[in-house]
Amino acid sequence: MSILVDKQTRLLVQGITGREGEFHARQMLEYGTRLVAGTSPGKGGEWVLDGKVPVFDTVAQAVEATGANCSVIFVPARNAADAMLEAADAGLPLIVCITEGAPVQDMMQVRRYLDQRRARLVGPNGPGLLSPGLAKVGIIPGHIAIPGDIGVVSRSGTLTYEVLYALKLRSRGVSTCVGIGGDPVNGTSFIDVLEMFEEDPDTEQVVLIGEIGGSDEERAATFIADRMTKPVVGFVAGRSAPPGKRMGHAGAIVEGGSGLASDKIKALLAARVRMAEHPEQIPDLLDGAR
């Protein structure tokens, strides 16, 4: 089993005729994800990906015609908020936003509105979801992970791929990998995902990959200490990052003394999370935690 996405996922790609959207839609389809529809305003009625996937003008039309229950967004940053709101308004319960660069004021409004609609947003500015062997919703390369019992949750992209790949080389598989994204205001937090992993019967251990900025890791530590029975291995990137500088991700910044990697590591260690000093240690720590 897995969390969030599996064989029941009926996926809609918003922005399917764009360069990124079409490329990744093909990858998702080839992986075996049930990709049922795409949207691209003005191109409704066309078929893409060798005539396999119908395109609609609006999300509401696509949902009505295909029964899509999950959307993944590949539109430019200036349209990202609109795309997320449209998906929520069409009643989709799960919305995954890959787009990087959405203004933070947009995200605050979107998050507030989606909460009222009880829609779950994953991202933005993240690689999406991968339940190996079942479904790929986003841009995580499918071939770098195999099915298994380790749940992975991360704020980063390629650093997460590193970890998935290192696990695969040790023949260790993954239940679901969730990229919650590198923005300061996002849809799904570490705690949300930890809670799902704790309840998922097929996840036995969890890997948490954090980075500087905000306090999501500290709150995750409290949750782990109070509520988790499954062992957690962690890594926090950015111990060497200078304060006041944004390290690539909009949310990766130490401000006014808060968001420091050292504080996050301390909090996670106190919650009995096994912390890796460098990413390559993670598979060893998982073996040790079993």
Partner: protein, 381 residues
């Protein structure tokens, strides 16, 4: 992106927040002329994008146009925290009864803007937070509703502002929220907001930070950028869509992905070295982008070795290797390279780079150890 005091105050004034009379001067003679217009008594304020201007001698109260000219000459010659003073704001001097703090920022945890006020104005709010946290009042604002009048009134009462000023305070708080929203600010601060001796509220100093991700819809604001805010290499990087941060070490880093780039820096430090930069080349790093990235790294005089750490996912390692190879004739590096390629088509990528006599590494740890050794002057195997 940070705005100067004078830029912030102009934006405040456009929304109806009262600010002191005054103008920007680029020369001492201009400062003198402005002081003359203002009647002689004036404040000459350096316009640099760092705090602590007063302590550094960057703000002077003067009593005559001549004194304004002298102060301007001095201030235009100094550097404040490494930044040269190129502009001055010459404002009327105001009789001050009391100073308060009023600011708006985004609360990441609550995912909403938060209006902050304190009866302790004129000092950095972080300092008040440390010294007397009880003197700071914070009010979360629903991003879908905006700031409501009763909330501003609540704040005025909470900081014990005399009732005669409530109307003006509510007007200013509402205007501050409007400008914060309109220009996609992540910080809008009036510090101090003063009560003058003649019982007016006046925004004496202002500070704004704009969300870089929103600049696409504020071209007028984007043009206000002060190029001194970033190191030269960081400005150059922005042109190529690269994310770059200058650091003080000797190991140049080129990595795809922000998280992996940070992790690479961490592992370098773990091995006893110091990274020279943070650099995310992003996905699908083609030859042109790779060349630009290498130029940036090698343009830093302290760099003694370059560490390339690429995880091939959708991006293929052989593609990146070709990018590096095609960039080499143009870049002509004089320092050694340590390369770690892992993921899609890693074998092919390694073979390509082997021809270029670059040192390859099998793991991130291995790469960092080799780079640290090279930075310390040891020859690479």
């Amino acid at each position: 992106m940070k705005l100067h005091e004078y830029q912030s105050k102009q934006l405040f004034a456009q929304e109806g927040i009262p600010i002191p009379r005054g103008r920007v001067a680029m020369t001492a003679a201009e400062a003198r002329a402005i002081a003359e217009e203002l009647g002689g008594r004036a404040v000459v304020k350096s316009q640099v994008l760092v705090g602590g201007r007063g302590k550094a001698g960057g703000i002077r109260l003067v009593n005559s146009p001549e004194a304004a000219e002298d102060a301007a000459t001095q201030i235009l010659g100094i550097q404040i925290k490494g930044l040269p003073v190129r502009k001055l704001l010459v404002d009327e001097a105001v009789g001050i009864e009391s100073e308060i703090y009023l600011g708006l920022t985004n609360d990441r945890q609550a995912r909403c803007p938060v209006l902050i006020a304190s009866a302790e104005g004129g000092v950095e709010i972080e300092e008040v937070a440390r010294r007397e946290p009880g003197k700071i009042v914070r009010l979360p604002i629903d991003p879908l509703l905006g700031l409501r009048e009763y909330q501003a009134r609540y704040l005025a009462a909470a900081i014990e502002l005399p009732r005669e000023h409530w109307r003006d305070f509510i007007h200013i708080a509402s205007a501050l929220y409007r400008v914060f929203q309109r220009v996609d600010a992540t910080l809008a601060e009036i510090n101090p907001l003063v009560v003058t001796k003649d019982h007016r509220l006046l925004a004496l100093d202002g500070k704004m930070v704009i969300d870089d991700n929103a600049l696409f819809r504020h071209t007028d604001i984007a043009e206000m950028r002060d190029l001194d805010e970033d190191a030269p290499a960081e400005r150059e990087a922005r042109k190529y869509g690269l994310s770059y941060v200058h650091l003080d070490g000797s190991i140049g880093c080129m990595v795809n992905g922000a998280g992996l780039a940070m992790a690479t820096m961490d592992v370098i430090e773990l091995c006893g070295g110091k990274p020279a930069n943070f650099l995310d080349v992003g996905g699908g790093a083609g030859a042109e982008k790779v060349a630009a990235a290498l130029q940036l790294i090698l343009g830093e005089p302290e760099v003694r070795v370059v560490l390339l750490n690429i995880f091939g996912g959708i991006t293929r390692c052989d593609e990146v290797a070709r990018g590096v190879l095609s960039a080499m004739p143009e870049v002509r590096p004089k320092v050694p390279f340590v390369v770690r390629l892992v993921g899609t088509n890693e074998e092919e990528g390694r073979k390509l780079l082997a021809r270029a006599k670059l040192t390859s590494a099998t793991s991130l740890m291995d790469a960092a150890r080799k780079a640290v050794a090279a930075a310390q002057g040891e020859p690479l195997a």
